[in-house]
Amino acid sequence: MARGSVSKGGLGTSAMTGIRSSLARRGQFRFACLAGPGALFIVVALLLPLLAIVVFSFWRTESYELYADWNLDNYRVLLGEPAYRIFFLRSLAMAAAVSFVCLVFAWPIAYFIAKHGGRYRLLLVLLLAAPFFTGVILRITALQGLLGPIGLVNMALAELGIGPVGMLMYTPLAAGLGLFYLFVPFMATAIYLSLANFNFELLEVAKINGARPWRAFVEITWPLNAIGTAIGLVLVFIPCLASALTQRFLGGPNATSLGMSLAQQFGETGTWALGSAMGVFLFLASLAGILVVRRTIDLKRAGFTGALGA
């Protein structure tokens, strides 16, 4: 459009375009200065290792050495070996279950803070992050103390006369509890941030127009905060899918995840190529997860009309 108006003017066309392009150059320079360092870091620290892993996954390891002869054996093993298939499905089921439970628990928490938090909103949101004040290992250890054979839960049950439940620790349930505990703050924060921008007056409008509270939630609150929910799901689902530590410390033999197995390839067994293939596989699975979430959300219907309108 700018170009058209210049040529119509006729006069001083070359001078104008000269100034324009120098302005554009300066803008580009400023943009490069601002965005450059971050972009460089992402390329070096994230994309290159990822690329390396993709490359390694087509190589071969023998006695702790990597050989660059290209083949598909790693993927053949990964897809063919029933154990890996079970590990993957287990990880998938665990990630899905944990995501779902986090969603169910996080929504009321986030809703309460956003609606009734008042001036304590910020404090309450920061409290959500309290588990992060300590390291992940410490948190898992704390859970061991809670769920162990002579842990708090079992002692309390014994006091109540129900007797200790032996099978609490080292079960998939314990691993799931651990993951839930680790990741529910992410979900709650994502949903909270969405609700913080939500106009609760819309619910009054819905109620005046005949919607009962539950209907108003389904019609208004849920769709208008679908983005927050989706971000929360992604933030929980992807780390859970690749998670290894929690299952290792809390899960016992029936909770071995693909992530645990992956860690083993890079550690004990030293089969880097197979581990890389697992990494690529997990990456693709996560990508698929994101795409599924993305597909289910119509941005316009999620109240993002402001950004996409007109």
Binding site: N199, E204, V205, N209, G210, L224, G303, T305
Partner: protein, 376 residues
């Protein structure tokens, strides 16, 4: 949803409707130590356009929210038709409401916004489409069905909000400053339109506004609200010409105010001492000779003439002054006159046939019975 059915019946049959659509009985609402609504009684008749006029913080919006069921009154009762709805939630009351900031659902199209109340009532598809077509044509929204709210202009959004408020044919429609966010031209256009819808539908409207011109233009009856209570309630002409309190006199219309002392009452008029001068003014309610009084007179009730004039003094008050400025407004002009004590008063009259010059001595005069007087 049961009440939806009964309402439809009354729209169709047009009978067996009690004359009072809404009744408020001794409503009290407190927020902490503040009494937002202070023992209000109100009856709204069928087909009435009722304006609640008051400055911000006067409790008018709180009253509207109590009627809608968004707030529970601390005391008193709300009756819609012959039902006591005091304890009912908003979704069981079957009233429509239109808000200042439109509050359309941003993720729904215009048509989806408008049919929302019908979907909540689980109305059949055919009936829903029929009513949608009716509302769209009433509001002249044809062709905008699939637009999202952010793709509509302010006026269109307000019309969608009106259509949503009206489509379920509620027992009454509440409007909370619906035009405050529109620009001036659109506002006066919508004022006329909203009044037209109200007359066509014969539906009672309760219209909350702080804009006296809006209230005067649109409504049949006005309640002026101040500090949670009604200062005056009555026909709009009554409110305008016969303000019951000093607050109403100051809030409705544009008035000059004179503060003086009541000297005596004789022959149905009060003599007011003002700046060493004397004026004859209407007698205030419960007159107390010697007490301080406020005399308020509307801009257009004053007349202006070049001094010296030949106006007959009998039956008229006269004040001498100099013309400070003339503000031309088209149909009328405001003449600003400085009086002897330096205070300024405004006279509004037709601008033609009066070629006064700046700083010219003028006489302001008016018949003694005009204006309103209050003890202060």
């Amino acid at each position: 949803m049961r009440n939806a059915g009964t309402c439809q019946q009354f729209v169709k049959a047009g009978t067996s409707v009690p004359d009072a659509v809404l009744k408020l009985q001794a409503i009290v609402k407190r927020f902490g130590t503040v009494t937002a609504v202070d023992r209000i009684d109100l009856t709204i008749e069928r087909g009435e356009f009722f304006a609640l006029l008051g400055p911000s913080g006067s409790g008018k919006t709180t009253m509207l929210r109590i009627i809608a069921g968004l707030e529970r009154p601390d005391e008193g009762g709300v009756f819609i038709g012959d039902r006591d709805v005091t304890a009912l939630p908003p979704y069981a009351r079957h009233v429509g409401m239109v808000f200042q900031n439109f509050l359309l659902f941003p993720h729904k199209t215009a048509a989806e916004n408008i049919v929302f109340p019908l979907r909540m009532q689980r109305l059949g598809r055919a009936e829903r489409d029929e009513r949608l077509a009716w509302a769209m044509s009433l509001m002249r929204l044809g062709g905008l069905e699939d637009r999202y709210p952010n793709e509509l202009s302010g006026g269109q959004q307000q019309r969608v909000a009106l259509a949503r408020g009206l489509i379920s044919r509620p027992a009454l429609l509440l409007l909370d400053e619906p035009l405050a966010n529109l620009d001036r031209e659109l506002r006066s256009e919508m004022e006329v339109e909203i009044r037209r819808y109200q007359k066509e539908l014969e539906l009672p409207f309760i219209y909350v506004t702080h804009n006296q011109e809006e209230a005067l233009t649109m409504s049949d009856r006005i309640a002026v609200m101040h500090n949670g209570a009604f200062e005056q309630i009555g026909a709009k002409t009554e409110i305008y010409t016969n303000p019951a309190t000093a607050f109403v006199a100051g809030f409705v219309g544009h008035s000059n105010r004179f503060e003086g002392k009541l000297v005596e009452i004789s022959g149905g008029l009060a003599r007011m001492a003002w700046q060493g001068d004397a004026m004859l003014v209407p007698v205030p309610r419960d007159p107390r000779p010697g007490g301080a009084i406020l005399f308020a007179i509307k801009f257009e009730d004053l007349e202006i003439a070049r001094a010296p004039d030949g106006v007959d003094r009998t039956g008229r008050n006269r004040l001498a002054g100099t013309l400070r400025d003339v503000i031309f407004k088209g149909q009328t002009a405001n003449y600003i006159v400085a009086l002897g004590d330096g205070s300024e008063i405004t006279i509004s009259s037709a601008p033609r046939g009066l070629d006064l010059r700046m700083s010219e001595p003028v006489i302001v005069h008016w018949p003694v019975a005009r204006g309103a007087t209050f003890h202060v």
